[in-house]
Symmetry: C2
Subunit: 542 residues, 2 copies
Amino acid sequence: MKILVIGGVAAGTKTAAKLKREDPTAEVTILNKGEDISYAGCGLPYYVGGVIADRSALIVNTPAKFEKLTGVAVKCGVEAVALDRAAKTVTAKNLSDGSESVYSYDKLVLAVGASPVAPPIEGVNLKNVFFLRTPEDAVALRQAAESGEVRRAVVVGGGYIGLEAAENLASRDIRTTVLEMAPQILPGFDQEMAAWAEDRLADQDIMVFTNERVTAITGEEKVEKVLCENRKMKADLVVLSTGIRPNTKWLMDSGLDMVKGTLLTDLHGQTNDPAIWAVGDCAMVHNLITGAPAWSPMGSTANIAGRSAAVNLAGGESEYLGVLGTAVCKLPGLNAGRTGMSVAQAAAAGIDAESVVCVLDDKAHYYPGSGEFIIKLVAAREDQRLLGIQVLGKGAVDKMVDIAVTAITMKARLADLANMDMAYAPPFSTAIHPFVAAVQILLNKLSGKLVSMGPADFQAGKAEGYRILDVGMAPAVTGAPYLDFTALPAGLEGIGKDEKLLLVCAKGKRAYLTQNRLRALGYANTVVLEGGTTVNGTELVK
Amino acid sequence: MKILVIGGVAAGTKTAAKLKREDPTAEVTILNKGEDISYAGCGLPYYVGGVIADRSALIVNTPAKFEKLTGVAVKCGVEAVALDRAAKTVTAKNLSDGSESVYSYDKLVLAVGASPVAPPIEGVNLKNVFFLRTPEDAVALRQAAESGEVRRAVVVGGGYIGLEAAENLASRDIRTTVLEMAPQILPGFDQEMAAWAEDRLADQDIMVFTNERVTAITGEEKVEKVLCENRKMKADLVVLSTGIRPNTKWLMDSGLDMVKGTLLTDLHGQTNDPAIWAVGDCAMVHNLITGAPAWSPMGSTANIAGRSAAVNLAGGESEYLGVLGTAVCKLPGLNAGRTGMSVAQAAAAGIDAESVVCVLDDKAHYYPGSGEFIIKLVAAREDQRLLGIQVLGKGAVDKMVDIAVTAITMKARLADLANMDMAYAPPFSTAIHPFVAAVQILLNKLSGKLVSMGPADFQAGKAEGYRILDVGMAPAVTGAPYLDFTALPAGLEGIGKDEKLLLVCAKGKRAYLTQNRLRALGYANTVVLEGGTTVNGTELVK
């Protein structure tokens, strides 16, 4: 059995290696365009920042080492240019001399990856304008950052790689600005969560401009300015992180099913040609919740999908049910993680979702280094199935995300998760785990024990007609009357029992306690502002 | 409705506060023996070490503050001494003047907690012999530790509190020794995992002696020596952490069902008297896997069970299905976490379990601060349901445990967990998440793709008759022939195809790859030593 793998970074090498373990008799060859295989693409931003000191640390395996470890043959510097499905051959060009060779296969694995897309503007080829996709990109970018000539950097694109690049440039005392065409950074977060993160980045001197399209990059010898629709800014260095496109142009007329250039696969990783598999950034997988095709150009997906495909290629049986759009990102003083569906994504999928935003301690509040999680939990209203989580905070947001991934994978309903016996000791967590607490809060909201409004609804003006009451430990909301629920009923004079009251405290909990107490006193129209002043700020009264 | 709560630390305050929220008309009174309520029992070791600077940080709520926050009445300095179930009254003694009062109830909540048990030996009342159960204990212990007169400390008991006490004493440059009567520390871990942790503690100058019963504590004015069956040692300070006993002596003749002094409850938290609930360290809950009664004297359980009981007390419906024996503990340079069943516990429950020990990176190996997890994963052989995890490492063991808790709560089979879309970025995790990787390894073992032996079996002599081959990146196993699988078949001379071979590398992975390659060459009797030299050391050849 001859198996040809086109592409040898994450998905290609994983598939080939696992396949050889499953079927040592298989003849597996990788054709790779570049000279590096199996490099740590996700580590590149950290090489730029110097967190990872040496380039060698980015290279997981050299071709020679990989061949010896796996028994797979690797040919580098070879670019596939044509596929003949009837003949079961791939024609590939040797990039050093331009000669072409034809490779035959019994089964073909397309793991050709994706390449960065430059915005269609002038100046993208100026000196000190970089992509951040390959080790070479990272080396060039770091050299420029270390040259002493860069005071200001602009990162175009506020996705995860762009933000990681921004963090690492800023860590070198380079004044860094992020420009994002969309209304928000952090794709997959709901907008109010992303907005909160944008403010925190500004606190750390990384300015973020959203709804900002770059129109040109200008300069004489090298980049000097970035021009946008709404502003222009000086820049000594630009990182373009505006998206990637699958390297499938050569397959356009192949008859393989694609969506926007991405190869469609079934749960086995197979394309519409049963002899051809596709894995990694050039292939669609599936959304685990909806079953719909999903693009997940991530190192983690490449590895998991590649491993699963290899089992099938070797004649075994493995269904890869798909992804949840999981992502996590380290930012200065703030980590951001998410999985599953946001409220916006649930709406787009036609699912009636309920959500809650809450602020919870990430470990025992008295333990040094403790902080807060800003959590948005999303569940289906009908069956109360957990749909997604978004978490921001300086602590272990990845833990919160991984718990949610496990729960969503197992199709958990909120009630299944409300009493979990989680790991607790003060250096790690709180006696009621923040994930469990968030589940309980959303259950309270769904049952009506908590009547609340999220920051998004508040921003959308849904508190119109409500009187804001400051119900925190001490007055904090500018211009709002203060009410201490522990001293009720004093302080309620002049407030009618039918009056619409928006209760605001620091995090949301005290407002919930206040609502509970007020309800017992007959105040029927109170609404808690989720996230309190922590998420919404103190300037709430118009 | 009059509800009387006896005891006001974690479970009592949680139950009372939640109950008042659920039913604001309920008349709820807490009778509390001590003067502090609602203190952070789990924080005490960190107060001893000075990690938590001020005693005030340990007090979650004063009685007055709690009353105002919740509407619950609190009486402190009052000890319940008699229960009259027929009359529905509790008699309690005022500890300041010895007078007795009778309190009637419609419903009674027993949250009387537990108290430390001193070993039945002489010397436990000597100066500088301490328990670590209350804020007062912690204050006294810290005063002694800070006195400058303590050079050597002995902690009696190698459970979680004892080990946390040891860590915090050692952090003050006090030479600290842990004595444990049982064959191992870290209850709930399998023995070989605990033994590995014991060695790491020794590396950090905390000596651990297991199977070591203390026979006396001696000294003139204060403690000077601790005498054991096998040794005696100098000590300026002793911490007794040898277990706790529910404070239920006054209930012995009440007719309430108990096991070893612990009150039995149903899934609603109710005792055999429908008017009486029991929560916290004085009550049994249930084991989530087996449904059997389980004792879980932990702050986390107290809160979760108390909250659930409160819903029922208020007329709602909440079943608390129980605990998994989850625990996590910060030790010097090593965290330890576990949940569910160990192999020993599964065997005791009559479940045929399979397990694997593996060594996996806790984040991208090239990311600074990365380390290793030593993981033992346990699953039922029959249906491959995940039963438990044990994790040791300097990193986020709590994350691994919480994922397992979620999976076990959802009754996950290994196959459900093998492709999860976990959070990955280099500062947080690896492209294939260590939890997922561990699941895949155990699946490989169950399917026969991996044939391996755990450290426990190796220590038990089950590799008798096997020839040890050192198959690591470089020779490391003393006295074993070295084999580099990437250079096969060279090096196989003199090794028969039917020979029993134990393959040993650093972590287990390269031995697995070697096994795979050897199998293809016809070597049929190879076994991988799980955990490699990392867990088993390099002195393996007898």
